[in-house]
């Protein structure tokens, strides 16, 4: 496992990519979930009882930053199929959507645009925000292990 990570991240390009994904995803999710406010002042706020939500955002961002560059490495360097890339992207998207649709501007826009269908979807994503994020994290973990396994096979690394 360490060998696989070393193989991918020995290339500085992938370190930069992972850092970019982690920082942009975490800050984006913290803004969408209203842990960070940009107006009228830039301020960070962690209300009591929302610690688990914050922790899940950090985990989701870290796993996305780990898994997505590994899959890009597989596709670009090893010319592998794009099939396994789907798990990482899917996990990241559903994890993001869970936090985005609440009573904030994104949820408001979705409901204003799609009416009762949008309201039902928003209510679902809001009510099940934590379980959806846990599922997204589980998908990313599974994608991570399947990626490591296939890299070992494709690169003929010693187990």
């Amino acid at each position: 496992m360490v060998q696989t990570i070393k193989l991918v991240y020995s290339n500085f390009k992938y370190v930069v990519l992972a850092s970019t994904i982690f920082v942009s995803m975490m800050i984006g999710l913290l803004i969408l979930s209203e842990y960070i406010f940009l107006e009228p002042y830039v301020v960070a706020h962690l209300p009591s009882g929302s610690e688990l939500g914050f922790l899940l955002i950090v985990l989701l961002s870290a796993l996305s930053a780990l898994v997505i560059p590994m899959n890009i490495f597989r596709i670009s360097v090893l010319k592998s199929s794009k099939q396994k890339m789907g798990g990482g992207i899917f996990g990241s998207i559903i994890g993001t959507a869970a936090g985005a649709c609440s009573c904030g501007p994104v949820g408001f826009a979705v409901i204003s645009t799609f009416g009762s269908v949008g309201a039902t979807a928003t209510a679902f994503l809001t009510n099940y925000e934590i379980p959806i994020r846990i599922i997204a994290i589980a998908i990313l973990i599974i994608t991570y292990f399947t990626t490591v396994k296939s890299l070992k096979v494709e690169c003929k690394l010693n187990p």
Partner: protein, 219 residues
């Protein structure tokens, strides 16, 4: 002479009774009877009664939804400090304006608060809703529960049920939602701090420190 005395007596008794009635209601709550009421660019005519001193120099206009979890967070995390430091001290007052959009029970919940206002219990009902909030549309704010909340506040149930079932305040809530859209509110909670020299907008359940900074700069 006797007739004149009786008439004057009746008028005096009526004035005393009126004054007594007005002083016996909660000192921090006024029923909204001002149809032309505005705060900055916002028409709050159809909003809540004013919480706090009506002559306070600053007004906090809150746009909210009773099913919004961020509104719940603001109600519990930030509002108590604002009430303590600004509303109870007469520096600011607060008006709640409905932006009921999250689910099918959001609008009935807003209507129910105005049915409670009919019986002088707007803020008590408002607080009870925010203290009882659960997941969006899971039934916590359906018609039966809204009536149960009214019952727990000892409201006249015949009046309340007739008000809620007839959707007496449907247009009032719709008017408030329009006010939110016209003032560029794109989510709940959304706030405007309105003072004599202008207004500041705050989006989201921001911490007390942000409100304090703005309120202090506007006093």
């Amino acid at each position: 002479m006797n007739k004149k005395g009786v008439v004057i007596g009746v008028i005096v008794v009526a004035i005393i009774a009126g004054l007594a009635a007005s002083y016996s209601s909660s000192p921090s709550e006024t029923v909204n009877l001002d149809m032309g009421r505005t705060h900055g660019t916002i028409s709050t005519a159809m909003g809540s009664p004013i919480l706090g001193d009506t002559s306070a120099p600053l007004t906090i206009v809150e746009f909210g939804d009773y099913q919004c979890e961020q509104c719940y967070a603001w109600f519990h995390e930030t509002k108590p400090a604002i009430v303590r430091d600004y509303i109870d001290t007469g520096k600011a007052n607060l008006v709640f304006v409905d932006l009921a959009f999250l689910g099918r029970d959001s609008i009935p919940a807003s209507m129910a608060t105005y049915c409670a206002e009919d019986q002088g219990m707007y803020w008590e009902y408002h607080d009870l809703l925010y203290n009882s909030q659960e997941s969006v549309d899971n039934g916590w704010a359906n018609s039966e529960r809204l009536k149960a909340f009214a019952f727990s506040l000892d409201l006249d149930m015949e009046l309340f049920e007739s008000c809620l079932d007839s959707e007496k305040y449907s247009k009032r809530v719709q008017y408030n939602i329009r006010q939110a859209r016209e003032n560029g509110v794109r989510g709940t909670p959304g706030f405007f701090i309105v003072g004599p020299d202008g207004q500041e907008k705050i989006g989201g359940a921001q911490p007390f420190s942000v409100f304090k900074q703005i309120l202090d700069s506007m006093i």
